[in-house]
């Protein structure tokens, strides 16, 4: 009996002393952390993708709390709704932002861009890019080894074996920008999704002179500048034989798409052109064939339909 009592008392005493030391230590060495950081981190998607530019979701939460303003801060995965929640916790205004999506600016499909050499090295775009210009005559376009696919944490980008190009799954894409960083050629751009998910962009990054570009790829931008002239909003600039459409100025009128002799300008997710538009196009024989391939695009009506419904 004594033995048990001694054990209980002595262990109890040790426990008490240890508890006092621990309590004192926790008070003495306490680190104050703003409780709002944990609250903010809770509403973030916890994807830890780094798309916001901070190391993980907790890093972003700390930065939001510390900054005292949400200007320029956006969680690309959660988007505007998440930022509104974050703003509510912090008592701030959420900066207005529009949803964005990754776009692949290369249309050098197997049909458009014939092979001129064969690459037999490691299947990695970075390595292929450091070795030479690529299997086709175009030294700017997609190398097709799929570094962007490997970089995506959301399973939102896949190689299409038929075209040899990556395709973005717009529903899954969070515009975190990981694919764009992985691409050694800077083909993938994060652009605003646009009204009704419709956007117009130049699907090419070839900076070669027109003749050289056209020779290597039948869908290359040749820098002719027709789109620049036709654009009523001065949204298109031409630099280094390459047109670029500024998404902030573009009103999606699609005039440039009609004008482009190379069909390098893509209007995504638009409904097929009305017969009236085709009639106009028929009046200009040179532009007539351009409307057809867009209308024939299978994904355009398919994706547009549910959104309208």
């Amino acid at each position: 009996m004594d033995l048990i009592l001694i054990a209980v008392v002595s262990l109890g005493a040790i426990g008490l002393i240890a508890a006092i030391i621990l309590y004192a230590a926790s008070k003495k060495f306490a680190v104050y952390e703003d409780p709002r950081i944990a609250q903010v981190a809770e509403v973030l998607p916890q994807a830890n993708c780094g798309g916001c530019g901070f190391p993980g979701c907790s890093g972003f939460a700390a930065a939001c709390v510390k900054a005292g303003s949400l200007e320029g801060k956006l969680c690309p995965v959660g988007g505007q709704p998440t930022m509104v929640k974050v703003a509510a916790i912090l008592g701030l205004e959420a900066a207005a932002s529009e949803p964005k999506v990754a776009v692949v600016r290369c249309n050098g499909t197997c049909a458009n861009r014939p092979l001129v050499t064969q690459y037999d090295g490691v299947r990695s775009c970075v390595i292929a890019n450091s070795t030479y210009g690529g299997e086709t005559g175009c030294t700017f376009g997609c190398l097709g080894c799929g570094d962007c696919v490997a970089a995506c944490k959301f399973d939102a980008i896949h190689m299409n074996p038929e075209t040899g190009l990556p395709e973005v799954d717009e529903d899954k894409c969070t515009a975190c920008g990981a694919c764009g960083k992985a691409c050694p050629r800077g083909i993938i751009e994060i652009r605003p999704k646009g009204k009704n998910n419709r956007r117009v962009y130049v699907q090419c990054v070839n900076k070669d002179k027109g003749a050289v570009a056209r020779k290597s790829c039948s869908a290359a931008c040749i820098g002719c500048g027709k789109c620049v002239k036709v654009c009523p909003f001065e949204a298109i600039t031409l630099a280094n034989n390459l047109a670029y459409i500024d998404p902030a100025k573009c009103k999606s009128c699609r005039k440039c798409e009609m004008e482009c002799p190379q069909q390098a300008i893509i209007a995504k997710n638009f409904p097929p052109r009305k017969p009236k538009a085709e009639g106009e196009a028929a009046a200009k024989p040179a532009t007539a064939p351009k409307a057809a391939p867009v209308a024939a695009k299978p994904e355009a009506p398919a994706q547009a339909a549910p959104k309208e419904a």
């Binding site: 050499t117 037999d120 390595i127 450091s130 070795t131 030479y132 210009g133 030294t139």
Partner: protein, 445 residues
């Protein structure tokens, strides 16, 4: 016999064209001069469309301190300043000249007489070398005048001439030594004078006994030049390996360079170019190029004007064989497959190698069996399997710690690997990334 202390491999030599005297190749119809034929800033063109140039006319000015001028190798009219796909596989700015006749600049001494006497000061020699656009002819194309001007705090103690030619197949340097020994030795003397040293070594591998004999014999007449026969081992032609083999000193890890151990290393072709530049006023516009390959009808060594398309050399050596799998610019170990045969000959083009389908095919990589053959083969004492794995996992901090920047990209690891693992591909990628990280870090400081 001397050699470097760690690593190295023994690829089959295949010196098919070693017995072929240097032939002068016919002039091309059009010569193309890429503006980046050297390490450093690209040259700036100083001619425009329609300008008439002669052989030896300067057509592009050096674009900075680490850069080199480019001279026309032909006489004719400038067709355009446009772009061409060069040996790098990318489109680069270039000057196109339509050939018309063969009229040389008057200042060039075209006689074959050997000029030995040089009254110029070291600074004047360096200036002449710079003005002739001379770069390292071994392949790296580092501007020669930069090497001859040691950074403050460093002092050159000896000049080492790289006549190793450790790449299989290539014989351009070998033939040059057999045919122009005196010119090379005068060039070495000039380099020694320019670097203000009294000692010069010529390192030649033992598989060229005729060249060793001839050079040793001739070198007796030149003060301070010693021919050092070396055991055959790849990559002995690597700058750091050669210094180790010849004078037994090891260059510390980057950013240290050979001058930190007192050595100035120059290629034997560079020594010849320096002789021609200083004594004959002839800028660098032609070089010896080996055209070789097992399936090629007539492997040869050609004295070729810069800007000549490689197709012309291949035609002169018997035409492109049917079963060609790859055309490689340079040797089989460090050379690069070319995108097409219209790539022009540049200052660093030491050879054109034709590989047939079978030779060109890369073996399917298998899993690493941990045999550590790559570790034994690495001449820099690195662990290639580790660097390759960490690079593929993008662990840049780790690969930097494992000294990835010391890699000389010789390919010994990949050559020796029984599992055919593409280690060098990954290491090169990692080296590029880490180099960028280090530069960014230094820029911040």
């Amino acid at each position: 016999m001397k050699t470097f202390r760690i690593g190295g491999v023994h690829p089959a030599e295949n010196k098919l064209s070693a017995g072929k005297a240097i032939e002068t190749l016919a002039l091309p119809k059009q010569a193309v001069f890429p503006l980046s034929q050297h390490i450093g800033a690209p040259a700036t063109p100083i001619v425009k469309k329609g300008d008439v140039v002669k052989v030896g006319t300067k057509i592009a000015e050096a674009g900075g301190f680490v850069s080199a001028a480019i001279f026309s190798s032909v006489s004719g009219k400038v067709n355009k300043v446009d772009s061409v796909i060069d040996a790098s596989g990318y489109r680069k700015p270039a000057i196109f000249i339509d050939v018309d006749g063969d009229e040389w600049e008057e200042s060039i001494d075209r006689s074959a007489d050997l000029v030995k006497e040089c009254t110029l000061t070291p600074e004047e020699i360096v200036a002449k070398v710079k003005n002739a656009g001379v770069v390292g002819m071994g392949g790296a194309c580092f501007p020669t005048h930069v090497k001859l001007m040691p950074p403050p705090g460093c002092k050159a103690e000896c000049v080492i001439i790289n006549a190793v030619e450790c790449e299989p197949y290539l014989t351009a340097d070998h033939r040059l030594m057999l045919e122009k020994p005196d010119q090379i030795l005068v060039g070495v003397s000039l380099l020694m004078k320019a670097a203000k040293v009294t000692k010069g070594y010529i390192g030649i591998e033992n598989n060229k006994p005729d060249a060793i004999r001839l050079m040793t014999e001739k070198a007796a007449a030149y003060a301070g030049i010693e021919v050092v026969p070396l055991q055959v081992k790849y990559p002995q032609g690597g700058e750091k390996q050669l210094i180790d083999a010849v004078i037994g000193r090891q260059v510390p890890a980057p950013p240290a360079i050979p001058i930190n151990v007192g050595a100035v290393v120059q290629n034997v072709g560079t020594a010849y170019a320096v002789y021609e530049a200083v004594m004959k006023n002839k800028p660098l516009f032609e070089r010896v190029v080996t055209v070789t390959g097992k399936s090629l009808k007539n492997p040869s060594n050609f004295l070729t004007r810069m800007g000549t398309p490689m197709s012309q050399l291949i035609d002169a050596a018997g035409g492109l064989p049917e079963d060609t799998g790859k055309v490689i610019g340079g040797g089989p170990m460090m050379g690069k497959a070319l995108v097409n045969t219209e790539v022009p000959i540049c200052k660093g083009s030491s050879g054109v190698l034709i590989m047939n389908d079978k030779e060109a095919k890369r073996a399917e990589p298998q899993p690493c069996i941990r045999c550590a053959k790559c570790v034994s083969a690495c001449p820099m004492g690195l662990e290639p399997y580790l660097l390759a794995t960490c690079s593929s996992l993008q662990d840049w901090e780790r690969v930097e710690k494992e000294m990835i920047m010391s890699c000389i990209e010789c390919g010994s690891c990949q050559f020796t690997c029984p599992s055919h693992r593409p280690m060098l591909d990954y290491i090169r990628m990692g080296k590029g990334k880490v180099g960028g990280i280090i530069r960014a870090r230094n820029a911040k400081k």
